[in-house]
Symmetry: C2
Subunit: 408 residues, 2 copies
């Protein structure tokens, strides 16, 4: 079961003016499950996106990048689960294009105004007929309140749907932000996440929306890992419909900051939800790396710890095996690291200083911290002013089980 | 059980003139097991070593590097299992020094003529009294034939002892090479391996011995991974006693090449033995990356595959989940990678080309390759002339079990 992931209630995810969501059962991989999502976006909305850095990026990612270059405005998203349409060569591009064409006909827009997304098994051909047949149902289902249905329709090995919402005030007008994401394995986003869509009715110009997206990504989806595998399909899309009735944000003023902070909150909640629902996860682990020379080296240390199978299995066993954490810090590749300056805290307990175990530390203290489902650790490098926070989960028998069974 | 690791027979590991090995039960972590090894080295022998790049390197590694700078010649190795003496600060250095002093007294040599090694749990203080008490037994036990006992005395989570031997001719004289190694988890050597000791009676000058060590390391111990964790204690020591009666090798001639090739064979056999006995391993996987721009990028691709928990669990399930391999190639960080040029072979079966699944490929072919305990794959980048080979194992329930239980 996901680690401390609260079940969603219908009234906790607010509708966004200008956004409608419709789902369908298209029988793409399994019968009788929600596996197709259509999102319509009001004319005049601004849309920004970041995508996987994986060289084997999926066909829909390739097409999304192309379509976002177009200036006539994105008017729809289409998402299927069950097939990633990745590692599919020319055939994959053709089928992603056909998906956009099918959507464009139903909505009377241009194909390049549609962004396509796919998630599921890699290296299998997209069942375009099933998608085409499912789209009319999704169209009929369109409704501004269908956020949780949308979260369910994009799940793969996810156990729980993931959505988050905030209401803020900008220039005295109410502004709403809602988002959904999916992801559980193959999680080590690089410039983006698995699939995440956040929309707001705020009004903001395109340049600032792009900037906001990058700022938020760096502090949310790019700070999580389940297994260190960067997906072929990672995409994070941010939509601003401009339907809230405030003046457009066109400089980095107080309004920009309020909006960015609220979107960051939603993005972090969604990113953490992915980790809480990480494949086989039993613990949610926060790794704070502090007082480094720069953010990059703090992230290196954080991810070295977060990727270590030895550390992740020790967390699964609730075993404060601190030596493994030290080993990971030591191989993180930080230049001229003075290990005698490093301090390591497990929860609030100082466990390492001066290159060895803290004299005050007792095994009982460590075990007390480790037995909880939420564990935090702080690593002080004591050589600068930069910080980074990374979120990850443990490594359990179920991770092996899920991934040994996934295709069957 | 280790994957296709043949049991050692006493007559398969040859004695080396000038080397004696003695073991003892010093009760360091567990009672009644071989856990202390003393190796004596004849005067005039040349010794070379490479060590972990982990910044949190263990106290004995620190001391080894110091002692190897000395010109009076290394005359003994002392190895304990059960405690890594890593992450132990000043106390660790003191106890490693005391270990060398104890050995030096018994053998009437200088403390800096002793190289100390430790392996086991990190962050615990070395039980120096137990080591001191065990050394006289190890001294009494010294014998040139005790190679397999030595391999057993350095094991931790290893299931099987690891040793290898070769006989060659140099300038018409018989030359013998024998070595032992240990390691099963925390295996991703960086410039060295867990613990590996190889000795030969060949005669070679120090500069060429150092060069030979580095050449061999790059093609053996630095090409393996079990879990991507670089240990704090990795050490690889090469000893040439010069007792074979050929003229000293002092240039990179035919004799140098014969010796290097034979030592490389022994080193590769030992490195592969570590992977075959990798924690929880059920498959031995060879990853050949070919036609890259340089060796570094081939290694990057190989290790991206070898470190992916998703790929390793799929191998455990005998599932030809090729999409995960493509994803790993895609996130390996290779610049300007043209994925349409890449060819992927599983065994002899072409499975990927032109950015997608090969038309000739069938799932049955993939399953046929995957069901064997020895699996090889070839990735052709088709953009240069460099190659690299990486060896790894799969990721099973038992990996989680072993590492969730290790300290208890």
């Amino acid at each position: 079961m996901p680690v401390n992931l609260k079940p969603l209630t219908i009234d906790s995810i607010f509708p966004i003016k200008g956004i409608s969501l419709g789902i369908a059962k298209a029988h793409i991989k399994k019968p009788n499950r929600k596996d197709l999502l259509l999102v319509t976006i009001a004319e005049g909305s601004k849309v920004s996106g970041v995508f996987t850095q994986n060289a084997f990026c999926a066909a829909p990612v390739f097409l999304c990048k192309e379509h976002l270059k177009n200036t006539s405005g994105i008017r729809a998203l289409v998402v299927n689960t069950g097939c990633a349409n990745a590692g599919t060569g020319e055939d994959g591009i053709l089928k992603a294009k056909e998906t956009c064409e099918a959507v464009s006909k139903l909505l009377s827009i241009e194909p390049h105004q549609v962004l396509p997304f796919s998630t599921g098994v890699i290296l299998e051909s997209l069942p375009i007929d099933k998608i085409r047949n499912g789209l009319p149902d999704a169209l009929k289902n369109l409704d501004s309140s269908h956020w949780i249905d949308a979260a369910e329709a994009i799940m793969t090995t996810d156990i729980a749907p993931k959505a988050a919402s905030r209401k803020i005030k900008i220039k005295d007008k109410e502004v709403v932000i809602s988002g959904v994401s999916k992801g559980s394995g193959m999680i080590h986003p690089n410039m983006a996440t698995m699939l995440s869509f956040i929309a707001t009715d705020a009004s903001i110009n395109q340049i600032l929306l792009d900037k906001l997206l990058k700022e938020v990504t760096g502090e949310s989806f790019n700070c999580i890992t389940v297994d260190g595998d960067t997906s072929t399909n990672d995409s994070f899309i941010l939509i601003a419909t401009g339907k809230a009735e405030h003046d457009e944000i066109n400089q980095e003023d107080k309004s920009y900051e309020i909006l960015r902070d609220a979107i960051r909150e939603v993005a972090i909640e969604l990113a953490q939800a992915i980790v809480r629902d990480g494949e086989g996860a039993t613990k949610f682990i926060t790794i704070q790396v502090e007082s480094g020379l720069d953010n990059a080296e703090c992230r290196k240390v954080g991810f070295a710890i977060a990727h270590s199978p030895l550390i992740k299995t020790a967390f699964f066993a609730s075993d404060p095996n601190l030596g493994r954490i030290l080993a990971a810090i030591g191989y993180a590749g930080i230049e001229s690291l003075d290990i005698t300056k490093i301090q390591l805290f497990l929860g609030n307990v100082l466990v390492v200083e001066k290159g060895g175990r803290a004299i005050s530390y007792t095994e009982t203290q460590g075990q007390e911290v480790m037995k909880h489902p939420e564990i935090s650790m702080r690593i002080l490098l004591n050589r600068g002013n930069a910080n980074a926070t990374i979120w990850t989960c443990d490594f359990s028998y179920d991770y092996v089980k899920i991934n040994a069974d996934y295709r069957t």
